[in-house]
């Protein structure tokens, strides 16, 4: 499910089934290596599209949270809100996973997409997606 009005309508009736929130968390700094962050974001966007397709009925993908200077206060507050809304599991998907209590972090790999052919990109992203899916299933299976 996504943060749009149709999905939010379904979400409030089906929160029992859509029990997992995923927060894509990214850096948008201009001063240190913005190109790497841009590449990370591009990759994260592709991954979230795939994840949503695979696990639409159980994942709620929140709007991306973008920070600068490594500030994590917004993700902390957001996780809290999501928990109060009724999500049982909260996953932070990021190239820079912050330590936030009660959340599961999924660390993505830095892959420099800039000089890659489309095919190459697709296959790398595909691997990353599979890996992420495995980690999400692991979160589901361990009943914390």
């Amino acid at each position: 499910m996504l943060y749009n009005h149709q999905d939010l309508n379904v979400l409030k009736d089906e929160i029992e089934f859509v029990d997992t929130a995923v927060i894509p968390f990214a850096y948008g700094d201009m001063n240190e290596d913005p190109k790497m962050h841009a590449s990370d974001m591009e990759m994260m966007q592709m991954i979230t599209v795939h994840l949503e397709k695979q696990f639409k009925g159980r994942l709620f993908i929140t709007p991306a949270v973008v920070t600068v200077n490594g500030i994590t206060a917004v993700v902390e507050d957001y996780s809290e809100q999501l928990r109060n809304y009724g999500f049982k599991k909260i996953i932070i998907l990021s190239h820079n996973v912050p330590q936030v209590e009660g959340t599961h972090g999924i660390q993505l790999n830095h892959i420099p997409l800039e000089d890659m052919s489309a095919d190459m990109k697709m296959s790398l992203i595909d691997d990353e997606v599979k890996d992420t899916m495995k980690q999400i299933i692991a979160v589901w299976n361990n009943k914390k």
Partner: protein, 167 residues
Amino acid sequence: MSQKVTRRQFLNYSLMGVGSFMAAGIILPMGRFAVDPLFQGEAEGAMITTSIKVDEITEEPTKVDFSFEQQDGWYKSEVTDFAWVYKDGDKLIALSPVCKHLGCTVTWAGDDANPNRFFCPCHNGLYEKNGKNVPGTPPRGPLDQYEVGKSDGFITIGELKPNELVN
């Protein structure tokens, strides 16, 4: 017509992704407004040729990807979906992988305990090979079906329709 929904949903997904989510509010309404008539013309009966040969299909459901270009206003993208295709005698059957519970993607034989069924990993939904949902699991109806055909020995995929194999 139902493909229209998929395309539009896909657009939503892409737009709601990282970075572009702020623009979504602006682009989306304009895109919808501008594009609706286009979709209607195109949605009728177009079969998409895939890169899978009819000979490769067996009685075991196989993943068949198909891509189409989606034009929404000035926003153009290639969308890839897939269908589970198998042979029933010499009849081709293509089923949608979208779970009828809450929309996750189902896999053939995804659960070791159910090697001859489709499995949905989200809430352990199960379907028989013809798409019939297994009672007692969350799905509320059978998997949808795609029009399927052949062209020069390759599988073609057409419109999505309700399941006609299950009664």
